[in-house]
């Protein structure tokens, strides 16, 4: 049981990070930093925003699965804060590594 909660929290952290990464990629400046070309196209941008938001919601659901709701909300909010810093630092130091989240369009 305890083990399971740990996996759920690890999943919540991973989803939050990925979701934030997609939301960042939906922004022109960051797309350019990552892919070195202008973009994203309007359709891709909508898709990135939609998928990013969905992952953040999924991350919250995993938090709720792991803990009492009062605690889960705190964990989720703090995961978003930590995740946003990680994404921002990745964009600043190793922007290309975010291509893992969304391949460079041909």
């Amino acid at each position: 049981m305890v083990e399971f909660a740990v996996w759920m929290l690890a999943g919540a952290a991973a989803l939050a990070l990925m979701g934030l990464g997609w939301l960042a990629l939906a922004m022109e400046v960051h797309w350019e930093q990552v892919h070195g070309q202008t973009g994203p196209k309007a359709r891709t941008r909508t898709l990135l925003r939609l998928l990013g938001s969905m992952l953040l919601v999924a991350s919250l659901l995993l938090c709720l699965g792991a803990d009492h709701p009062s605690m889960a909300v705190l964990v989720w909010v703090m995961l978003l804060a930590g995740g946003a810093v990680l994404i921002a630092m990745t964009l600043s130091w190793r922007p290309h590594s975010l291509r893992l989240l969304w391949p460079k369009p041909a």
């Binding site: 705190l74 964990v75 909010v77 995961l79 804060a81 810093v85 964009l91 600043s92």
Partner: protein, 553 residues
């Protein structure tokens, strides 16, 4: 006064942020350390390095220990002036005995309070508090300062300025200003969403410092807001002390009404009565919690009016699985063990208060959330430190042209609160391990060392500050980073030499309280060394020493 609202907010943010920022830096940094106060206690008091223990048997272990206890000589001396006639040799009328532990505590906090015969105010009470080894009932020496819970934690909320609660008031005011700074910061920041993930480290120091300031402020905005706010809620009774001032008669009356409503006696009966088995009551309380679907350990045990027919035993659950500080108290008649009362479900208002205070005080068992709180606290430190740096960078060229010293002074003060505070903390840990355990008043030496070293770092910062007046960097940033990089591993080494608990050993047995402090010290040293290298004159002075805060937990 100003052309528009945004400029007014900018003025408020800049100047109140600058002045109270020095206080907030202390509050945030030691708040982040306080998340692991019990673990730092283990590190600083090696006698208490063993596994957390549940509440021990009362009948066999606690009761004889409580019966041996008496108020300390110092507290008796302090009381002398408020009593008619001489003080007795022994205090036999015990108002209460209490014991408290958490899921992170190997040691037990025990306290007793005593009635004072012939006191002018019959409410006068003598208190005594000790730390006990729950495995054998032995008391730990009182003059060993538990650095986490007795020094860093009170530094976080009171700056350890106890005179007329001055420190608590300053911190409260700073908390209020923090809320204003968050609001004005959001108003000033035009691109909250557009620059949410932005850190342009290749731009000027001024630009990259502002990016970090915005980043650390915005992503952790809910954390900053809720911690400033709940901090004020926790101390509301100090900031608005109505219960014991204007409403004092009502307070007394309310206590009596509450006693009447709950059936728990407010006064002694004056008739002696024996004490039934408290272990049986503890078992009964745990059985009832389990029946309610919330099985748990006992966190707090209190016996009121000890030895009297009106005596009762209150047993509270340790709140480890939810945020709200809820005890689900069970109250038993001490002489018979009969259940007098079970705390009713909480009202909505109580639930909200308990959630808010619980959010801040974090009694829960959730290591991930604890670490995330450390991250939040350190992001607060980064936010304040980069605020200082931005303030200086923005002005130092003008000041240099005009011959002003303003940015030089602010920069030196910032040094004292960023790197100076880290040096003082590392030095205190080092002193703690260097001083012999049997030294009388060891804690006082440690305190003196902390403040002394801190003052030295401030003096050093001012002494080296001349280049700032010429719009250059103060070399003390680099030098103090090197000092951190030297002191922190020295503390780890001193811990090894003085206790034999080196990292290979503590990691092998997974004794995280000590291994964790050691690892954090090493991580802090690594970041400080990296910052010092980046700050060396050959490389562009781009990387902010403030990042040294990032990994120190």
């Amino acid at each position: 006064m100003f052309q528009n609202f945004r400029l007014t907010m900018a003025w408020l943010h800049t100047w109140f942020g600058l002045v109270l920022g020095f206080v907030l830096m202390v509050v945030f940094f030691f708040g982040a350390l306080s998340v692991f106060d019990r673990e730092i206690d283990r590190w600083s008091v090696p006698q208490s390095r063993f596994a957390p223990q549940p509440m021990p048997s009362f009948d066999q272990l606690l009761r004889p220990a409580f019966e041996r206890m008496q108020p300390s000589k110092e507290s008796v001396d302090l009381m002398r002036d408020r009593v008619d006639g001489p003080m007795p040799d022994r205090f036999d009328t015990v108002r209460s005995w209490g014991a408290y532990t958490t899921h992170r505590d190997p040691v037990l906090q025990v306290f007793a309070s005593y009635e004072v015969p012939k006191a002018r105010d019959p409410e006068e009470t003598l208190f005594t508090l000790h730390i006990m080894d729950p495995r054998n009932g032995a008391l730990l020496p009182d003059d060993h300062l538990r650095l986490g819970s007795q020094f860093f934690f009170p530094l976080h909320y009171s700056l350890n300025l106890n005179w007329k609660e001055l420190g608590t008031w300053i911190v409260g005011f700073a908390g209020l200003i923090m809320l204003a700074a968050l609001f004005s910061g959001v108003v000033m920041h035009r691109k909250i969403f557009r620059e949410f993930f932005t850190f342009r480290r290749h731009k000027s120091t001024q630009r990259s410092a502002l990016d970090l300031h915005n980043l650390s402020g915005v992503v952790a905005l809910p954390f900053h807001f809720f911690f400033a706010f709940t901090g004020l809620v926790i101390f509301a009774s100090i900031y608005f002390p109505v219960a014991h001032t204007q409403l004092n008669p009502l307070h007394e009356q309310s206590e009596q009404m509450e006693a009447h409503a709950t059936g728990l006696p407010h006064e002694r009966a004056g008739v002696a009565a024996p004490l039934a088995s408290v272990d049986a009551m503890m078992a009964a309380a745990q059985a009832r919690w389990a029946a309610k679907g919330m099985a748990g350990e006992i966190g707090f045990l209190n016996i009121q009016h000890v030895g009297d027919a009106n005596s009762y035993v209150s047993i509270y659950r340790a709140g480890t699985d939810r945020v709200a500080l809820t005890g689900e108290g069970m109250h038993f008649k001490a002489s018979t063990g009969e259940l007098l009362r079970e705390d009713p479900p909480r009202t909505a208002v109580d639930s909200v208060t308990e959630f808010l205070t619980g959010l801040h005080l974090q009694h829960f068992r959730h290591w991930l959330l604890r670490w995330l709180y450390v991250v939040g606290g350190l992001l607060g430190c980064v936010c304040i430190a980069t605020g200082f740096i931005f303030f200086v960078e923005k002005r130092k060229k003008q000041h240099a042209k005009a011959g002003g010293q303003g940015s030089r002074v602010v920069d030196a003060l910032a040094l004292g609160t960023v790197t100076g505070m880290l040096i003082a903390t590392a030095a205190m840990l080092l002193i703690n391990r260097l001083l012999p355990s049997e030294l009388p008043g060891k804690g006082d030496w440690e305190r003196a060392g902390f403040y002394g070293v801190w003052l030295l770092t401030l003096a050093h910062a001012f002494w080296r500050s001349a280049p700032v007046a010429l719009a250059r960097h103060n070399p003390a940033w680099r030098e103090q980073c090197w000092a951190i990089a030297a002191l922190a591993p020295a503390a780890v080494l001193a811990n090894w030499v003085s206790t034999g608990d080196h990292l290979a050993k503590t990691l092998a047995v997974s004794y995280w309280p000590v291994a964790g402090v050691d690892l954090c010290l090493l991580a802090c040293a690594a970041v400080a060394a990296w910052a010092a290298l980046k700050l060396s004159p050959q490389t562009t002075p781009l990387v902010l020493a403030a990042t040294a805060e990032m990994t120190h937990g």
